[in-house]
Symmetry: C2
C-alpha cells in the first residue's frame, strides 16, 4: 500500500506542477497557468515572447468560510475555441469579431471538503480576460469577500497613466509617471472633490494604461462588473506588482456572494501598437449579448443643453437663492426667484429652436425640478422628487413645443448620491418621463452616497446603477449616468446604457481646466470600458465671457474641440456650448452638425497616449468619413492618411484646422476652414497647434 | 456705559435663573424648568410633591455645527392650555381626552449668532411630554446629531422592569431588579437573537417601567418617533440618572436633521396607581391626528393563521429542503418538495373553512412565496420578491375560495431585514395584494439589516417602517409589522399601522418559553407605545404534541391564554393555535370567538407590574363586557369587581376559570366553565392558578 500512496503523491505533484498553456488565435499571446507548491493558482502572460505579466497569483480571501487562496489541486482542465461576429446596435464599428481560445480550470481544495472553483481564461488577439467562477455545489453556498488577491506582476517600471485609487471619484487629472514614481506623486495627484476616499499611497484606478521601455502598450481593466465591487489596483512599487483592491462597503466587507456566481473579468489588453489598444473590443466581447429583444428604441443622440451656462456660472440650476428647502413643505410660489434660473420655459424654447434649426435630436435641460437650492453636501436624504418642476418651467407646454419641432427634451435626474431616495421615486420618475415625452435621462450621483458609509464604487452602488438602467429599459428610456461606476462594457448587454461620465469631463474646463494631454489619454483609459459623455464643443474658451468671476479657460484650441467628436467615441454626443456662441462661428459649427455619432468602421492613424491621437471613422450607413487629430501641449505635424477610403475615387474633404497663430493658451479661437480633394493615396501633413487639432469631414465628390 | 452693562448682566442672570413652572390640569404634577449658570437647560418633575425627575439636563450634541448643550439664555416663554377629545377609529376606549398645560421655552445661544431652539413641555394629568424644536432661522439649517443628552435623574434606586438596550432587538425576557442591580444582571439578561447589538453594561430600552420604594409607578418612553433614531437609556447606576442614548447609523452618526424640525417627544408617565399607567393615553395624545381622510377601510381583525404549525416545527415555511435558492434562477418545479410545507392550497382551504365556521375575519398565511429555503442569516440581498407563490400555493383559487367564504387572507411579507430589496418591490407587492383580494399585510424584519451597518432602530429604518406604512395606505392596506421599531403612538397618525410585535411574542413559547410574569409586564412596557400582535390563544401547551423534537411548553395555563385577549390590547388579535386543537376544546374556544377586539371603554380592576393584571372592557357599540385576569407564577385570588356595568341590571357572565388543580407547569389544560349572574355590585373572588388566569364574557340577561 505504501507504494501506491507514493505513486499517488507523485501523480498529484505532477498534476499540480504541469502548466496549462493557451495562445491567442494569432499566436502572439501566450498564457501559462499552473498551481504552485502551496497550491496557489498562478498565471503569466507574454506577447511576442515578451513578458507582459510575470508569474502572478490568483485567489479570493473570504471572511466567513475558508478562503479560496491555496491548497488547490487542478482536477480538470478544458480548452475550447470560439469565433463569432456580432453587430452592436451602435458603436465604433458595424461588426465586432469575438474570437478567443479558452482554458477552463477546475481547482479543488482537498482540505476544504473538496470544495472547488473554476478560473476561466479567454485569450484573444488583443489580450487576456479571466474570471473566478463559483459553481453550485454542496460545500459552497454563501460567502463574504474580504479581499480579492489577483496579481498583475509587471515586467518593468513602466510609464503609467494613472488616477489615484478612490472609492468615490474618477474626476482626477491623469498623472503620467513611472510606476516607481507613483508614491512620490500621489499627494499632488489627489485634487479635491466633493466626494472622495483614497485608500493607499500607491493605489490607482483602472483602466490603467502603461507603456514598457521596450515599446509595449498594456492596459489593465475589468469587464462585466455586475453585483460585485469595483476593482482598484494597489501597487507594490518595489516589485512592480499590481494587486487587486476591492471597494469596501459600510462595514468594511467587499462582496456578498452566493454560488453559483462569478467575479467580473479581469482584462489585460496589450500590443506593440498604441492604436490597437484604442480599437480593442476585448472588454465588450467579455460581456453578455444584449438582454433586450427589442432594441429599436435605442438610438444615437446628438444634443445640446441648458447646462454649460450653469457650469460656467452664467445662470443657475436653482430658482431662488434660498438655502433651506424641504420638498413638499417649501412653497416656491412664495419664494423670490433669483433672476438667473436657466431652465425657464422661454429659454428652453430658444434651445429647442436652435436644436431644430441645426438638426440636433435633443435638448438636455438641467435645473428644471425643485430642490437645487441645497442639493449636495448636506447628507440630505430627500433631495429631489424628480417630478415637480420649478414654477417657471412648464412641462406640458415644453412637451408640446418640442414635439412640434421634432426635438426631444432629455430628462435630468440628479440623485445627489441619495440612492434610496432615487430608488423610491424611480418608477414615478420614469412614468413621468413617458407621460411627458422624454425617452432619455441623464442621471447624476454628486456627493457622498446615502446610505451613508457606502461608496460610489462598492457592490451596493454597482447593483444600484444597473438596477436603474434595467428599470429604465422597462420604460424604453436611455440612460447617461454621471458620477456612476466607470463602464466595463455593460452597454453591450444593456444597450440603453448609452454613456457615462466617470472621469474628468469638459465641465472641468470651467473649474480650472483640464490638462492639454487629457483627451489624448482618456481613449486609452476611461474609454476602454465604454462611451464617455465628454460633452465637447466649447468654442468660447474664455469662461469669463459668460461669468466675469470665472477665470478658467478651456485648455484646447477651438479646432481641437471639433476633433474630439471623432476621437472621443460616444453614441450620445453633446454640443456643449451656448447657441449664442455657435451663432458667431457657424462655419466651424458646421462640423458638429455634420459629424456622425454612429459608425461603420474606425481606423487609428496615429496614436501615442499622452501625446496625440489621429483617428478616422466611417459614418454608419453613409459614404461619409470623419477624421479627428489632437495633440497635447506640444504642437505637431499630424500625418493624416486616407487609405481607408474606397480606392480609385476622389472625395471632397472639408478641413477644419488651427489657425497658423493658434495655441490653446494664447489664441485658441484661431481657425481656418478649407476644402481639399482627397483619395485613398492622399497623405496630408497637417500642423496642429499647442493643444490643438484638426477635424475633417469627407464626402463623395458630386459630379 | 459700564453701569448699563452691569445692569444687563444682572437682568440676564435673573432671566437665566428664573424658573418656569407648569402644573398638570389636576395639579398633581409640577414641572419646573430653568437654565443653570452654564446656560444648560434643566427640568424637574414632581407628582403629589414627590420628586419623579430630579433636576436633569437637556441638550443635543452635534457633529458639524456648535452643539445645543450650553450657553443658552431664555429669550421667550409661552404658556398655554389645551383640552379636546378625539375618537380613534379603533382602540381601548371610544373617546380619548387630550388635556394639557403647555410651556414653550425659547432658548438662544448668544455665542452662536443668537441661534435658538425651543423646548416644548406638555403636562397632562398622567405625566409629562417634552421635545426639542429647531425652528427655521438664518443660522440653522442642516446638522448631524452626535448624541442627545436628555437626562432623567431618578429619585431613588427604583424597582425596574428592563430589557437590555439593543439596536436590533427587543425580544428579551424582562429582567426585574433594582436600578443598582442592572449592571450585575446584564450578562444573563442578554439572551441570543439572530440580530442583536447591545451598547452598554447599563443600557436599557424604553418603555422603561419603574416602581419607587414609596409606591410611585413611573414609565419613561417616547412618542411620535418620526425620521429620528430610537432612544435607549444608559443608566448612571451611582446616581440613578438615565441618559438618552440614540441608535447610531452605519458610520456612527445618530441623526441627520434639517430645520425646521423637532425631536420625538420624551415621555414620563407616573401615578401612585399602577392601573393609571395602563390606561394612560399620553403617548397617543402627543402624536398628530390621523393623516388620512378616509379611514373606512381600516377595521379591527380577528384572525387565525398558517403560522403556529411552522413556529412549532410541525410544518415548514419552505417548500423544499434545498438550501441554495436564487430567485428568478431556481426552478422550483424541478425541486423535490419536502412534504412538510404548510401553505399549500388544500391546507389553507382548511383554515379558511375553520375561520368561516367560527366567524374569524381572516387567515394569515406565511411561507406562501418562494425564497424561504435560505431566508436569513446569509446577508442575502434579494431574498424574496413578494409576488411569486410556491408551486403548491394557488393564489387565484384561494382568492376565489376565501371570497366565497367571506374570509380575507392576510398577506405575509418577510423582508429578512433586506429593506432595499423590500422597497424595490413594495409597489409591485402591494399591487399584487390589491389584485388578489388582500387588504392586510404582516411584515417581518428578521435578521441583520441590509444596508449593512444600519440597525433596526436607527433613523434609516425608522424612516423605512413609516414609508412602508404610508405607501400601504395608498393601496388601502393595513400593516402589522414584526421586528420593526417599537411603537410610539404613531398608529394615531397612521391608523393603518394596526399593530407591531417589537417584543417577545407568543412564538417564544415554542422557543424555550416566556416567563410566567411576561404578560403581566408587557402592558406596562411594550404596550405603552401601541398595540402588540402578541398572538395568544395557545391551547396545546406542550409543543411536543406538534413536534416531538420540541421540548418547549407554554408557560401559562390554557385559561390565561384566554384572559390575554382582554389584557393584551390589539385591534388585530390572533387565535394562534391549530384548528385541530381548538376542535378539541370548543367550549373554551367559545371565549375567543366571542371576545371583542375593539372597545368603548376599559377599566383596570387590579394591577401590579410583574405580578398580576385584571381588566374589564366594554365591546365597541355593544352591551357586552369582557374581563381578563392573569397572574405570574404565583397563584392568587383575583378580586373582580363589576361596578362598570350599568347599575340596577343583571347580566349573565360566562366564567372561564383555571381548574382547581391547574398550574402552568403541571396541569395547564385544566379549566372549568360556568355561568353566573352578576350586577354592578358583584365582587367575585376568583382563584388563579400558577401563571393562570380567568376570563369572563358578560352579556345582558335575556328575559
Amino acid at each position: 500500500m505504501r507504494k501506491i500512496y507514493v505513486l499517488a503523491l507523485v501523480l498529484l505533484y505532477a498534476a499540480t506542477m504541469k502548466a496549462q498553456v493557451i495562445t491567442s488565435p494569432d499566436k502572439n499571446f501566450t498564457m501559462k497557468f499552473s498551481v504552485n507548491a502551496d497550491g496557489e493558482p498562478v498565471y503569466e502572460l507574454s506577447y511576442k515572447q515578451k513578458a507582459i505579466i510575470k508569474p502572478s497569483k490568483l485567489g479570493i480571501e473570504t471572511k466567513d468560510v475558508p478562503s479560496f487562496l491555496r491548497g488547490f489541486t487542478v482536477t480538470d482542465t478544458r480548452q475550447s475555441t470560439f469565433d463569432e461576429s456580432w453587430n452592436p446596435p451602435m458603436g465604433e464599428q458595424k461588426t465586432i469579431r469575438n474570437q478567443y481560445n479558452e482554458l477552463l480550470v477546475t481547482l479543488s481544495q482537498p482540505a476544504v471538503d473538496n470544495r472547488f472553483i473554476r478560473i476561466r481564461f479567454r485569450i484573444f488577439n488583443d489580450g487576456l480576460g479571466f474570471r473566478y467562477e463559483f459553481p453550485s455545489q454542496k460545500n459552497l453556498n454563501y460567502f463574504v469577500i474580504k479581499e480579492e488577491h489577483t496579481e498583475f506582476a509587471l515586467a518593468g517600471d513602466h510609464k503609467t497613466f494613472w488616477l489615484p485609487g478612490d472609492f468615490d471619484t474618477q474626476e482626477y487629472h491623469t498623472t503620467t509617471s513611472k510606476l516607481s514614481e507613483v508614491r512620490g506623486k500621489m499627494k499632488n495627484a489627489i485634487t479635491p472633490n466633493v466626494s472622495q476616499k483614497t485608500f493607499s499611497p500607491t493605489g490607482v484606478q483602472t483602466p490603467l494604461m502603461m507603456k514598457s521601455s521596450d515599446g509595449l502598450y498594456i492596459n489593465i481593466h475589468e469587464a462585466a462588473l455586475v453585483d460585485y465591487s469595483c476593482m482598484h489596483l494597489d501597487l507594490d512599487d518595489k516589485n512592480f506588482v499590481l494587486k487587486s483592491f476591492l471597494t469596501p462597503d459600510a462595514v468594511g466587507d467587499k462582496g456578498y456572494m452566493q454560488a453559483p456566481t462569478q467575479s467580473p473579468w479581469r482584462t489585460v489588453i496589450a500590443s506593440d501598437k498604441a492604436g490597437d489598444i484604442l480599437t480593442s473590443k476585448l472588454v465588450y466581447n467579455l460581456n453578455e449579448p444584449a438582454k433586450y429583444k427589442d432594441l429599436s428604441w435605442i438610438k444615437p443622440v446628438k444634443y445640446i443643453g441648458v447646462w454649460w451656462e450653469m457650469i460656467t456660472g452664467k445662470s443657475t440650476w436653482a430658482y431662488t437663492d434660498t438655502e433651506n428647502i424641504q420638498l413638499g413643505v417649501t412653497d416656491y410660489s412664495k419664494l423670490k426667484p433669483n433672476g438667473k434660473h436657466g431652465a425657464t420655459t422661454a429659454h428652453v424654447k430658444e434651445y429647442i429652436d436652435f436644436a431644430a434649426k441645426h438638426g440636433f435630436d435633443a435638448v438636455l435641460v438641467e435645473g428644471w425640478n425643485v430642490g437645487w437650492e441645497d442639493w449636495f453636501g448636506k447628507t440630505k436624504d430627500y433631495v429631489f422628487d424628480f417630478v415637480t418642476p420649478y414654477p417657471d418651467f412648464d412641462v406640458k407646454e415644453l412637451q408640446r413645443y418640442a414635439a412640434s419641432k421634432n426635438v426631444k427634451i432629455i430628462m435630468h435626474h440628479e440623485t445627489s448620491g441619495s440612492v434610496r431616495n432615487y430608488e423610491r421615486h424611480l418608477d414615478t420618475a420614469y412614468k413621468f418621463m413617458v407621460e411627458n415625452g422624454y425617452n432619455a435621462v441623464k442621471s447624476g450621483y454628486v456627493g457622498n452616497i446615502i446610505p451613508r458609509g457606502e461608496h460610489h464604487y462598492g457592490q451596493w452602488l454597482v447593483n444600484h446603477y444597473l438596477y436603474a438602467v434595467q428599470k429604465a429599459a422597462d420604460y424604453k428610456i436611455m440612460v447617461n449616468a454621471h458620477e456612476a461606476i466607470r463602464p466595463t462594457g455593460l452597454n453591450r448587454t444593456y444597450p440603453n446604457l448609452m454613456a457615462n461620465e466617470s472621469a474628468r469631463g469638459t465641465e472641468y474646463e470651467s473649474f480650472g481646466g483640464n490638462n492639454p494631454d487629457h483627451t489624448t489619454i482618456l481613449p486609452f483609459t476611461r474609454q476602454i470600458g465604454g462611451p464617455m459623455d465628454y460633452t465637447p464643443g466649447i468654442f468660447q474658451t474664455k469662461i469669463s465671457a459668460y461669468n466675469p468671476d470665472n477665470t478658467s479657460f478651456v485648455h484646447t484650441t477651438l479646432v481641437k474641440q471639433l476633433a474630439l467628436y471623432v476621437t472621443m467615441y460616444s453614441p450620445l454626443q453633446m454640443a456643449a456650448d451656448l447657441p449664442e456662441t455657435y451663432n458667431k462661428h457657424l462655419d466651424a459649427f458646421q462640423f458638429i452638425k455634420d459629424v456622425a455619432v454612429d459608425w461603420d468602421d474606425t481606423w487609428v492613424i496615429e496614436a501615442e497616449p499622452g501625446d496625440y491621437i489621429t483617428m478616422a471613422r466611417k459614418a454608419k450607413g453613409k459614404n461619409e468619413w470623419y477624421v479627428g487629430a489632437i495633440t497635447d501641449e506640444n504642437p505637431r505635424v499630424a500625418t493624416i492618411t486616407f487609405n481607408y477610403l474606397p480606392k480609385g475615387k476622389n472625395f471632397i474633404a472639408t478641413l477644419y484646422a488651427d489657425g497658423k497663430d493658434a495655441s490653446y493658451d494664447k489664441n485658441p479661437q484661431s481657425y481656418a476652414i478649407r476644402k481639399i480633394k482627397v483619395n485613398s493615396k492622399t497623405v496630408l501633413k497637417q500642423q496642429l497647434a499647442s493643444s490643438g487639432g484638426a477635424a475633417i469631414s469627407i464626402k463623395e465628390e458630386v459630379k
